[in-house]
């Protein structure tokens, strides 16, 4: 088990190095002159040259790469032109917002997806099965930004049940910053009103973000349930007089949940990428919105920072899934990566 984990960890480190190399290549193929960008729009030629020297942009690329890696290792991701803060500070401020959104969204997807998948498997080819199939296919095909606009139109404008955008009402002061996740902070500070307000703001974006994930959870859970329900030990349990509800709800579900759990781990990293669109529609101040506004301003350092953070999270999620799988299924420990 230890060896398996070490191999996995080594591979992850290798992939991280690859990701760092990719971000370096991307920021260096830019047609725009990075020195001119960093010096600002009003800079004279002399100032640009000074910046070039100062940042080491006149050195050969391999030297620059070593410097880049060194900076990253020291936690120095550069400075955002737009916000004026270092990218590290910005990420510390924006990542919790995204993490909060993804968590709410994932909770929704699991709470809806697992029972729906289960029901669809138990009542195969019933109308319920067909409806969930339509939901599952739509979840992948629905443009997140469009679905977001429509939900805003329906629930925020027409019905007035939920707020349109942002994390809190304009006048509400954010709860005292501890984790920067408003849901957690407001509870820690005992501000229940703020908690409900923050939760209300999170509902619509979380639903939109949950759609594709819900779709795959339904599909995987349904397929697994069908397979498990057809297996011999389920038949044996039924033959021994175990009630149908118990077989489906406990015995079969427990076995079908394994692949679903793996999927949740993988989808978590994917959701971090999906937030790019959702945060843009709902003005949710997370890393997705940060990446988009930086990309439009051709502000590189923040985009690379977001790419690295999302990549690292994705790799860690993979690592956790692999480790959990190996713990639960010993056959996998010796399998080649």
């Amino acid at each position: 088990m230890m060896r398996f984990l070490l191999t996995r960890l080594g591979l992850t480190a290798l992939m991280l190095a690859g990701l760092v190399a990719i971000t370096f290549v991307i920021s260096n193929v830019a047609p725009a002159d990075p020195a001119a960008l960093a010096a600002g729009p009003d800079a004279t030629r002399d100032m640009v040259e000074t910046v070039r020297k100062e940042y080491g942009l006149d050195r050969p690329l391999p030297v620059q790469f070593v410097r880049y890696v060194g900076d990253l290792a020291a936690g120095n991701l550069g400075r955002s032109v737009a916000t004026g803060h270092t990218v590290g500070e910005d990420l510390a401020r924006f990542f919790p917002a995204t993490f909060e959104l993804v968590t709410v969204s994932m909770t929704l997807a699991v709470l809806l997806g697992v029972p729906l998948g289960m029901l669809a498997a138990v009542r195969r080819n019933s109308w319920l099965d067909h409806v969930t199939r339509v939901v599952a296919v739509s979840g992948i095909a629905l443009p997140a930004f469009w679905a977001g606009l429509l939900l805003q139109l329906l629930f925020a404008v027409q019905l007035g049940w939920l707020p349109t955008s942002g994390r809190l009402e304009v006048g509400t002061p954010p709860p005292p910053a501890i984790t920067n996740m408003y849901l957690v902070d407001s509870l820690l500070a005992g501000q229940l009103g703020t908690f409900w307000e923050a939760l209300g703001h999170a509902v619509l974006p979380a639903i939109v973000l949950a759609f594709p994930c819900l779709a795959s959870i339904i599909r995987v859970n349904r397929a697994e349930m069908i397979e498990v329900l057809g297996s011999d030990y389920v038949l044996a349990a039924r033959a021994h007089g175990v009630s149908r509800a118990r077989v489906v709800g406990v015995l079969a579900l427990r076995n079908a949940m394994l692949p679903t759990l793996a999927l949740i781990g993988l989808r978590y990293g994917w959701m971090l990428g999906g937030t790019v669109l959702v945060e843009t529609v709902f003005d949710w101040p997370g890393i997705g919105l940060y990446a988009v506004s930086s990309a439009i301003a051709a502000d590189f350092k923040p985009i690379m920072g977001v790419t690295l953070v999302v990549g690292i999270n994705f790799m860690l999620a993979n690592l956790v899934v692999d480790a959990a799988y190996a713990r639960l299924d010993p056959r996998l420990r010796t399998a080649a990566p």
Binding site: I22, S27, V137, Q158, L272, S294, A295, V310
Partner: protein, 304 residues
């Protein structure tokens, strides 16, 4: 009289010679037609292709596609004159959405085409050759797959500069790893099939095995994936357009239209509604179609 008899005879002979292929084609059509969702997909894809082909010729206001100005008729709701309403320039939204079909078609074709052109050879090399080449190719693929495609594409577009062509390039550059994974797995499993072993045993060259045995057998999953990816690539390009990094507004591209329309929500809802509906139906169509194709071409891979 004699010529018709001769051609009838030739036809009969052709039927006999290709009886196997004809029977298989019939089975394909039957399996595909039996699934309602696959047929819905087929209809949607056919409509999409038809609109892309003849759209610019049949739209009611062709000049509106490139951004004509009729300020007197701006932001009108759907009516018998403008079925989908008009936008902030007074342009007919139906016209712009239909003309946008062609843009989406070539966007989807280029992204999936380039991705397959890069991914398939690499996948074959990794799966068939194995060894160090496989290790290198697969690890690089893993790195690309470790970041959600859209995030990496945004980074690339930011470096290249916003625009529809750069958006397509960026998406093609992040799309190929999926093909490497698919083809590598397929090639790996085919490599040890008895018929390949047999071909190798009787002295078939590597090139012959590659082109006669490996590639044709990779074709079905490849076709299925490409038809599914057509929809997803169109969706991704529209997403870039929505963010403001893809096509620029006067161009009739669905995502870019919604990005402008967003500022006119909620009062002028039809402006964002119809382009989005077209994106949804297109992606849905290619998805269902691909799913149906998988049931036909690759029945063993049929999950769920």
């Amino acid at each position: 009289m004699t010529t018709t008899a001769a051609s009838a005879g030739r036809l009969a002979r052709l039927r006999l010679e290709h009886a196997g292929a004809i029977r298989q084609a019939r089975l394909f059509v039957w399996t595909f037609g039996r699934s309602p969702s696959a047929m819905v997909g087929l209809v949607l894809v056919a409509l999409f292709l038809a609109l892309a082909a003849v759209g610019p010729a049949i739209v009611p206001y062709p000049a509106d596609a490139t951004g004509a100005m009729h300020l007197a008729a701006r932001l009108q709701p759907p009516s018998s004159v403008h079925w989908f309403g008009t936008d902030e320039m007074g342009d007919d939204i139906l016209t712009r959405v239909v003309v946008g079909t062609r843009t989406s078609l070539w966007i989807g074709l280029i992204i999936t085409g380039v991705a397959a052109l890069i991914g398939v050879p690499l996948g074959i090399a990794a799966g068939y050759l194995g060894g160090a080449a496989r290790q290198v190719i697969m690890r690089v693929t893993d790195v690309f797959l470790s970041v959600p495609g859209l995030v990496l594409a945004i980074a690339i577009v930011a470096a290249l500069g916003a625009g529809v062509l750069n958006g397509v390039i960026a998406l093609a550059l992040v799309w190929w790893p999926g093909y490497v994974r698919l083809i590598e797995a397929k090639a790996l499993s085919i490599k040890h099939e008895p018929y390949v072993e047999a071909a190798r045993a009787v002295g078939a060259s590597r090139r012959r095995i590659l082109f006669v045995h490996l590639l044709p057998n990779c074709l079905s999953p490849l076709v299925v994936k490409m038809s599914m990816d057509m929809g997803l690539a169109i969706l991704a390009a529209a997403s870039l357009g929505f963010i403001g990094l893809g096509a620029r507004p006067p161009a009739p591209e669905w995502g870019a239209m919604i990005s402008v329309a967003r500022t006119y929500m909620p009062t002028w809802w039809w402006y964002a509604f119809f382009p989005g509906l077209f994106i949804y139906l297109t992606v849905l169509g290619f998805n269902l179609f691909g799913d149906g194709l998988r049931d036909v071409l690759d029945p063993r891979a049929n999950r769920s």
